[in-house]
Amino acid sequence: MINFILRRLGVMLLTMLCLSAVVFSFVNLDPNLRKLAIFNTETRASDADIENWLVRNGYRDNFVVRYARWIGLAPKQPTIDPSTGKTVPRFRFCDEPTEPTFSGVLQGDLGCSTALRAKVSDRLPEALKATGILMFWVMIVMVPISLLIGVLAGMREGSRLDRGLSVGSIASTATPEYVSGVIFTALFASYLGWLNGSAATAQTQGISFYNFTLPIMTMAIYGIGYIARMTRASMAEVMTAQYIRTARLKGLNFRSVVVKHALRNALIAPFTVIMLQFPWLLTGVVIVETMFNYKGFGWLLVQAASNNDIDMVLACALISVVLVLMTQLISDIGYAFLNPRIRVS
């Protein structure tokens, strides 16, 4: 078991290294660097100005060296002021050091956000917290509903209830967040006026039913169908097992067969699916936060990516990749614990 986890962690590190290198090379493509320079050198900069800015701030240094600096294996260089010849911080708003220092991800420095004019590590935790709250409520809503639908549909395969619920789940998997968001907002916020079409007040005035229901509904809908279908398949399979037939033949009533015998075994497979939903939710978070103007991790990612905010994009990529890989690991280990027939080696 320990070996398995260690090996997986090794693969995880390799994956993170590869992915960050890919992201790093993409955000440093020439058109992207120019975009960054134009964003930072006031209006109507000439090509020479742009080039000058890029050279001065070290964006034209060797690629490998810069990647090593970001990781923390090479010292970050301060900028040299051309008029005085003295070293000044690269970005004033992040109070970066004025002498070369090893300060990268390994040292816990995620860099400086050029779009938000703040340290990445200053902005990221609060955004992650906001998204965490959103995710928590989505899970609270999504998991029980989908498990209930799945179990009800799967306990009598082919019944009318099963058909109805299955079509319902198919419909919900056909509704991506930006579709349900638009329809729900038009219906509940614009037409009926029951709910708030923006979640911005959730961060300033606290979460309420009025401002937080729409984002949660929007995000949950897409996932419910998927988990429900997996639960249904698993439940339907368990219901055909020998021990269920034995329990029925013993004379137990249907309800206690379902609750006491079938349910526990049927919920093993959905556990994995629910864990693997986290990466999916990540895309949903980006859409929902953009749509409802909720300043969490997804909103930050969009801001960073659309302004080519290099350090912020890299930090967001790193966090999402860690999240995806950790959930995969946890779901594998959890599956082994829940299902005694599986042994990880």
């Binding site: 994956t15 509704t175 968001g181 895309t283 990516a305």
Partner: protein, 386 residues
């Protein structure tokens, strides 16, 4: 304020505008019921109402896309300042034409844009899915069959792409700046090579003992492949028929890239399962080459789950395209595709006052994906029954 027509007139107007689709559907279903015994699996599909609905919705959108010029009253790009943000059923005072589902911020007909949007979605989504399936199959078969180092390497790469948040991948791959770099063309060059390799190997392994057939099949593959390849990757089709806008190529490549690892995983899993069967051992004993076994013994036996997955994947690709449009990536701002229309319509003010602008493309997208999902479900049921 302009004149408007009532709800009934709007509804009947919309139904009437879709006349080419209704005629097509009537012919399709009449054909299916008439030739049911001879159609095999496809005929069986219409036994359940889920199947009927699935086939019906997919065919409806396909027909709408094909006959978009007949269905849509006007060109999707025409702006009409008078009808700006018109409500559904608004009548244009100049021409007397009814804007069935209203007009958008620029006075463009929402209904026509939705109809033309179907055309964009239904060209890119199935084509991208098809290429993704071919890429996934070409890589997944050897990974599952040979195992070992190839499998480890390919699976690592697939997991790498899958660990990427889709949205970040799109932001990196589909930015306006990236079209100045050779990256999209290089990726297109690699990804579009897979179908040619796939069909080349497919025919080569089958007809290697019958040269006359082999040369014909390989010749057709190479000529067709080179023709489409030159048109798509280099935009240098000698006949000028196959061409693609740089931004559409960019979207296409990104979508193929994002969805082929999923196909790879499924094909690999199916191959691992099927390669233990007796007929594979029989072929191995006969001395068939590994690629013959993969392409002519394993792949045909994996077709059931693969077809179902492809069907679901077209729906997923449609959703991905919508996501791209929603974030304003790739598609031009004038493009009538559903994602862009949803983005424009989902701005706070638009959604509050002029909800039809966002809701119309949203419902269109949802119904198409629903149709594809229902079709996949019906196909799965039917293939399980065999």
């Amino acid at each position: 304020m302009t004149e408007t027509v009532g709800f009934l007139e709007i509804a009947s107007g919309i139904v009437l505008r879709f006349w080419p689709a209704w005629i097509g559907l009537a012919i399709l279903f009449a054909g299916i019921y008439a030739f049911k015994p001879r159609l095999g699996l496809f005929g069986e599909l219409t036994n359940t109402w889920v199947g009927v609905l699935g086939v019906g919705i997919c065919a409806f959108w396909l027909l709408t896309a094909i006959f978009a010029q007949l269905v849509a009253p006007v060109d999707p790009g025409i702006q009409n300042a008078v009808m700006k943000n018109s409500v559904p059923g608004g009548v244009d005072p100049a021409t007397g034409r009814v804007f069935l589902l209203g007009a958008d911020l620029y006075g463009r007909d929402v209904f026509s844009r939705m109809v033309y949007g179907a055309r964009i979605v239904l060209t890119i989504a199935p084509a991208a899915t098809l290429i993704a399936v071919l890429v996934g199959a070409t890589l997944g078969l050897p990974a599952g069959y040979f195992g070992g180092k190839i499998d480890s390497l390919l699976s690592f790469l697939a997991n790498l792409v899958l660990a990427f948040p889709v949205i970040l991948l799109f932001y990196l791959l589909v930015t306006p700046g990236i079209m100045d770099t050779p990256i999209p063309y290089a990726m297109a060059g690699v990804l579009f090579l897979f179908p040619i390799v796939f069909f080349g190997v497919l025919f080569y392994t089958r007809f290697s003992t019958r040269p006359e057939r082999l040369y014909l099949a390989l010749g057709i593959t190479l000529v067709l492949g080179a023709w489409i390849y030159s048109g798509l990757v280099f935009d240098a089709d000698p006949l000028g028929i196959v061409s693609i806008e740089p931004n559409e190529l960019n979207i296409f490549v990104a979508v193929v890239f994002a969805s082929s690892p999923g196909v790879y995983r499924i094909v690999r899993g199916l191959t691992l399962d099927i390669k233990t069967r007796d007929y594979v051992s029989a072929a191995q004993t006969r001395g068939e080459t590994p690629w013959y076994i993969m392409l002519w013994e394993i792949l045909p036996n994996a077709r059931g789950p693969l077809i179902v997955d492809t069907c679901l994947r077209i729906g997923y690709t449609t959703i991905l395209l919508g996501t791209l449009g929603f974030f304003g990536l790739g598609m031009g701002p004038e493009s009538p595709d559903w994602g862009t229309a949803i983005k424009d319509g989902s701005k706070v003010a638009q959604l509050r006052l002029y909800y039809w602008q966002g809701v119309t493309p949203a419902i269109a997208l949802m119904s198409l994906v629903l149709g594809l999902n229902l079709l996949a479900d019906a196909l799965r049921e039917e293939s399980l029954r065999d």
